[in-house]
C-alpha cells in the first residue's frame, strides 16, 4: 500500500514541478499575459462602451451586439493562447535543445508539452471567465442559460484550438516559422470565430461554410448555450472531429529535435 502510494507520488512530482515552472515562466511574459488574459476583455469593454451595441435589436433576434460578442471574446482568448502564445514557445524549446536536454533525465520531454497545453488551456478558460464576468457586471449580458452545455462547448473549443496550435508547432521547423504560420492561422480563426462579423449575422452560404470550421462551429455552440438551448450536436461534432484530426496529426508529425 505504502509502496504504491510513494510510487505514484514519485511519478506525479516531476510533472507537477514542470507545470509549476511553466506557469512561472508564463507569468514572466507580459506580452502573452496581455493578449491572452486581458485583451479579450478589453475588446469586449470597448465594444460595450458604444451605446447602440448595448441595445436589443430586432434583426438579432431581440439581442444586442454585445450579447453576440461575448462568445467571440471567449473564443479570442483561446486563439490568443493556442495560436499566438503557445507555438513559438514550444518550437523554441525544440530549437534550443530544451526538449533534448530533458530526454536525458527520467522525465520524458512530453511532460513539457503537456504542461504547456494544460497551462494555455487553463489561461484561456480563466480569460473566458473574466470576459463573462465583465460582460455580466458591466454590460448586463445574461450569463449562459445552459451552463453544462456552455461548459462542454468551451472545453471542446479549447481542446480544438490547442490541437491546432500543436499542429502549427509540429509543422514549423523554427520558432520564426511557427510565429508566421500561427499568425496566418490566427487571422483565419479570428474571422471564423466572428471577430469581424459575428457568425450568427453572416449571410447564409458563408455561415454554412464557417460552421464547418472549428471556431465557427464552436461559436454557434456557445451562442446556442448562451441563449439557454443545448448546443447543436452537429456543431459539437464538427469541433470534436477537428480536434481528433489535428490532435492525431500533431502527435504524428511532431519532431523532438
Amino acid at each position: 500500500m505504502t509502496a504504491t502510494l510513494s510510487a505514484t507520488g514519485q511519478a506525479r512530482r516531476p510533472a507537477a514541478a514542470v507545470l509549476r515552472t511553466e506557469i512561472r515562466l508564463f507569468l514572466r511574459e507580459p506580452g502573452a499575459l496581455f493578449w491572452v488574459m486581458v485583451f479579450p476583455t478589453v475588446l469586449l469593454t470597448v465594444l460595450g462602451l458604444i451605446p447602440s451595441f448595448r441595445e436589443d435589436q430586432e434583426d438579432l433576434g431581440g439581442r444586442s451586439v454585445i450579447d453576440l460578442y461575448v462568445p467571440v471574446a471567449v473564443l479570442l482568448a483561446m486563439i490568443m493562447a493556442g495560436l499566438q502564445a503557445m507555438p513559438p514557445v514550444l518550437t523554441a524549446y525544440r530549437e534550443r535543445g530544451i526538449l533534448r536536454r530533458m530526454s536525458t533525465t527520467p522525465v520524458r520531454p512530453s511532460a513539457l508539452l503537456t504542461a504547456q497545453i494544460v497551462l494555455h488551456g487553463a489561461a484561456s478558460l480563466c480569460s473566458a471567465a473574466l470576459v463573462l464576468a465583465v460582460g455580466r457586471g458591466a454590460f448586463g449580458v445574461r450569463l449562459p442559460g445552459q451552463i453544462p452545455g456552455y461548459a462542454l462547448s468551451l472545453v471542446l473549443a479549447v481542446a480544438c484550438v490547442l490541437a491546432l496550435g500543436a499542429t502549427v508547432c509540429a509543422l514549423s521547423r523554427t520558432s520564426r516559422i511557427a510565429t508566421a504560420v500561427g499568425s496566418v492561422a490566427y487571422l483565419v480563426m479570428m474571422f471564423t470565430a466572428g471577430v469581424w462579423v459575428p457568425v450568427q449575422t453572416m449571410p447564409g452560404l458563408l455561415r454554412r461554410i464557417v460552421e464547418c470550421t472549428p471556431l465557427g462551429a464552436a461559436s454557434q455552440a456557445l451562442d446556442q448555450a448562451a441563449r439557454g438551448d443545448w448546443p447543436g450536436w452537429s456543431h459539437l461534432a464538427v469541433v470534436v472531429v477537428w480536434t481528433a484530426v489535428l490532435g492525431a496529426a500533431s502527435t504524428r508529425l511532431f519532431r523532438w529535435e
Binding site: 514541478a17 515552472t21 536536454r101 533525465t105
Partner: protein, 303 residues
C-alpha cells in the same frame, strides 16, 4: 565488468556513415576520454550511450542496460551534459536546479552543487543573463544533480576561460574521487592529458587508438624534443641526425635554432656532441611531445 560497453557501434545519417564499428569499454570509476577532430563521430557515439540516438547496429550497455530499451532506468544512473543545449531563457539558476532535482528519486543537494560550481551567488539570475561560463557550469550541475553513477560530458570546457577551465577540471577530479565514472568528449588535448585515465581517439567514425595518454604519447615516434640555439652555427646537422634514436633534425633559418626529435638517448647524445665540439647550447629545452603531437600523428596517417 565495464560500466559502459560499446560494441561494433554503427550509425549513419542519410547514407553517410558517421560512426563505423566503434567499440570501447569504460571501467567503473574511470575518466575515459573520447578525442577526435570535429565531425569525427564523437558526439554521435556518446548520444548513443545517452539513449538519445538509436544505433543502426552494434550494442551499447550502461551498467548492463540498453539505453534505448531501458531508457527509464538508464536516465536515473546516467547524467548528461549536452553540447549546445539551453534552458528556458527566463528560468533562474535556482529554479533550474530545483526543477531538475524533482526529476530524480534521490537527487544531490543542489545548494552544495551550486556552491561547488560557483553558482551560489547567481541563484536568482535568469538563464539568458548568464555568461557562457556560467551556463556551462549550470549545465554541469544539472548533469550531476541526479547523483549519477556515470556522467557524460560533451565539450565540457568549450567557452570557458583558462581559470574556469582549470576549476572545472578540479571539479571533475572530485566527481571521480566520489566514485562516479566520467565519459568525456573533448578536442582539447591538454584536458584529455590532465584528466583522462584512458583515451579513445576517434577519426572518421573509427577508433584509431585506445590507450592511456602517456601510452599514446609514447607511441608516436620522436617523443622527446630537444631544441637549442648553438653559440656558433653548426656546420653539419647530419651528425645530429645520426645520433642514436634521432628521428628528425631541423634548423630555423631566422635564428639558427636547432630542433631534434628523438628519445631520451638522443638528448644525452646531443649534449655530448655539443660538448665535444665546444659549442654551447643556449636556451636548451628538452620536452616530451604532448598529446597534441600524438593526436596529429594518429589522425593524419590516413588523411
Amino acid at each position: 565488468m565495464p560500466i559502459i560497453e560499446v560494441n561494433a557501434l554503427r550509425k549513419s545519417y542519410g547514407g553517410r556513415l558517421v560512426v563505423d564499428e566503434v567499440g570501447f569499454g569504460v571501467e567503473e570509476g574511470e575518466i575515459f576520454g573520447i578525442l577526435g577532430p570535429n565531425g569525427a563521430g564523437k558526439t554521435t557515439t556518446v548520444e548513443c550511450v545517452e539513449g538519445l540516438r538509436v544505433p543502426d547496429s552494434g550494442t551499447v550497455r550502461v551498467a548492463g542496460l540498453d539505453p534505448v530499451a531501458d531508457r527509464h532506468r538508464v536516465t536515473r544512473l546516467l547524467g548528461a551534459q549536452l553540447q549546445e543545449s539551453e534552458l528556458q531563457p527566463k528560468l533562474t539558476v535556482r529554479e533550474a536546479l530545483e526543477l531538475y532535482s524533482a526529476f530524480y528519486p534521490e537527487p544531490a543537494d543542489w545548494r552544495r552543487l551550486a556552491e561547488r560550481l560557483g553558482l551560489d551567488t547567481h541563484l536568482t539570475r535568469r538563464f539568458a543573463k548568464l555568461s557562457g561560463g556560467q551556463k556551462q557550469r549550470l549545465s554541469i550541475a544539472l548533469a550531476l544533480i541526479g547523483n549519477p553513477r556515470v556522467v557524460v560530458l560533451d565539450e565540457l570546457t568549450t567557452g570557458l576561460d583558462p581559470r574556469a577551465r582549470r576549476d572545472t577540471w578540479r571539479l571533475i577530479e572530485e566527481v571521480r574521487a566520489s566514485g562516479v565514472t566520467v565519459l568525456l568528449v573533448t578536442h582539447f588535448m591538454e584536458e584529455a592529458q590532465r584528466l583522462c585515465d584512458r583515451v579513445a581517439v576517434i577519426d572518421k567514425g573509427r577508433v584509431v587508438a585506445l590507450d592511456t595518454p602517456a601510452g599514446l604519447i609514447g607511441r608516436s615516434s620522436g617523443s622527446t624534443v630537444i631544441s637549442f640555439t648553438p653559440s656558433e652555427p653548426l656546420q653539419d646537422t647530419g651528425a645530429l641526425a645520426r645520433l642514436p634514436g634521432a628521428v628528425s633534425v631541423s634548423v630555423d633559418e631566422r635564428d639558427g635554432r636547432v630542433t631534434v626529435h628523438g628519445d631520451d638517448d638522443t638528448a644525452d647524445a646531443v649534449i655530448s656532441l655539443l660538448a665535444a665540439r665546444r659549442v654551447t647550447a643556449r636556451h636548451l629545452r628538452v620536452l616530451e611531445t604532448t598529446l597534441d603531437d600524438a593526436f596529429l600523428d594518429l589522425t593524419e596517417q590516413d588523411a
